[in-house]
């Protein structure tokens, strides 16, 4: 019974996958989600997307490349936040409380939204296999930028994509 279920679902899934383009240049659409930030306020991606593009980055306190990337993201956030740009840092530490994470974030002068994802619900939803993983989504939740890992210079590519995403918002 289990084997039959697996087989049927796999065939139907492959049928759906096969009818879509698997090429990298088709714009992917990310699922919507919500969570609570470190101040216990509800954060909904759809509401943030109504104002402008949203950058989502998965990180952990022990991930040095994540922290270097977040420094660069903080600079971009300060530059474009007034125009409606939002950033959500989704923390993937397993055992951290809000109090500990607030201390960690404040001592690094990070001002963008942070959501805790200890149970990896969002990590599983977006298939996070390595850190950092960064997504830039814009109108209609289209994906403008995705990168696993951080290398020097990524922030320059990211800024170009932010500008491109903003230009799509001004189009009807």
């Amino acid at each position: 019974m289990k084997t039959l279920l697996i087989l049927i679902t796999l065939i139907l899934t492959l049928f759906q996958v096969g009818t879509r383009s698997l090429l990298a240049d088709e714009k992917q659409i990310l699922p919507s989600f919500k969570g609570r930030d470190l101040g216990n306020r509800l954060v909904e991606v759809e509401k943030l997307l109504a104002k402008g593009p949203v950058l989502i980055t998965f990180w952990a306190t022990w991930c040095a490349p994540c922290l270097r990337e977040m420094e660069k993201i903080e600079v971009l956030y300060e530059k474009y936040r007034e125009k409606g740009f939002s950033v959500i840092g989704i923390n993937q530490d397993v055992i951290k409380s809000r109090a500990e994470l607030r201390t960690f974030v404040k001592t690094r002068h990070i001002s963008f939204l942070i959501i805790m994802d200890r149970e990896r619900k969002l990590g599983n939803l977006l298939h996070i296999t390595a850190l950092p993983s960064t997504f830039l989504i814009g109108k209609d939740r289209h994906l403008y930028f995705f990168r696993t890992g951080y290398r020097e210079g990524d922030e320059k590519i990211l800024e170009k994509k932010i500008v491109e995403a903003f230009s799509d918002y001004s189009k009807k």
Binding site: T3, T13, A24, P31, A64, E71, S97, F146
Partner: protein, 489 residues
Amino acid sequence: MATEFFHRCSQIIFFVLGSSVAAHPLSIQGVNTSQYEIGKQSIGREKEHREILENRLDVNILHSDFHSIMRFEVLQPSAYSYIFDEGLKKWSMGFEAENIAVTVGDFQSIFGRGLILNLVEFPDLQLQNTLEGLKLGLSANRGSISLISGRDTRSKERPSVDFIRGVWGTTYPSQWVTVGGGYIRAENAKREFQLYGMQIDLTYRFLELGMDIGRKSVRDKIEKKGWAGYLFGSFLHGKWSVQAEYKNYKFPDDEFSSYYQPPSVLAESNIQLVAREETLLNPGDDVGANLVLRYSPSLDSFFALGADLSSSHGDKFWWPHYRDNDLSFFYRSNYSVNAYYRFKGDFSFNGSFSILREKLEFGSPVNLWACAIIPSYRIDSIQSVEFRGEVKAISFGNNSNYDWLTSLTYNSTLPNVSANFSIEKSRYVVHEKAEIKVAGELRWGLGSFHDFTIGYGSFGGGRRCALGTCRLSPPFRGFKGQLTSRFGG
């Protein structure tokens, strides 16, 4: 019986959902990872030959408020404790609306800081303690409640099945106060235990406070009880901060300990730069305290000074490097200085120095000092180089050893290539001969959604950060190649 019922129901619902895929537009997204490895993997002190060809496909099917997650694995040969079934390795389906979330299938859950319940999954490390059953979450503006019921997914390999049920509620009276409490009960054919706990987080101006407390009872032929508590506090003012933690852990031992975990904090005064081990408030410790003073003059820099004191009884420790016997009482103290500074321009520097001393009830004390320096230099807008050097000196009885590690990482963003080379001298147990380990990795991106990595050499396990990415991986020596592709729309 309840979990069996939900298991059957979910199979039927799963089949119906799968059948409707062709009829209704769904969003299907996922990641496929193909991996080949040939070499040796470290399992404890043993090294096993390893040659595997593995394909893991993670698929999400999303439709409105419904979602389904599946993981298919094909493994040749199928000889690993975690992957005991090929085919559908993990599955769950759920519904999430404004105030309710239901998950049927495999799920993870954490109550509090993990002191009461800590169900997690690390697929790359082949470690998991997830449950298969039902998880129900209800939320309102000022609070939420989570109910779980399930059986251990590793039961196929164990003589008896563990059933766990629990409830955890959290309320947010204001944005600066979180109060939670709950209960879990676990039982199998031989034994049962119950855990009650609560958690409070408070923020007042410059002050942060956190507390977890739990009470556990284990019933076998006799009943044993114990309690555990954890406190965290921090004070921030301008560029200065002070953090302190205290833990007192007296839960009685039992075989259910994999479902919960006492808080284990990675205080920055040591972890990131020096040793790979978690040295502070180790999960094996019974009592511990930690203090860190930090000064952050700018976004790019900080200096930290830390001290830790802890003690433990019994066989609960994680450092096989230092001793052979498994039963001892020891008292551990650790002092460290940590600095990170980025100079204007292209040069940045990380440095750390740590001293650790363990005093055993029987035998000689263990002394360790460790020092790490990590300068990095940005060559131009697309290339950078990072050098990492660590030295550790360990003395235990008549044994004194030095270990060193160096690595050189070259990164280039055009044409989306990264390379890493490392050379390290280290040992797994203090009386073993040190080994020189050499490893190299090359990674390049094929378009935005495909990633190809090849590596050869001896790689350390655990949390590994290389090529600009951090992953959890087991220690490995040999050749490996991996192709990861994301798809969907």
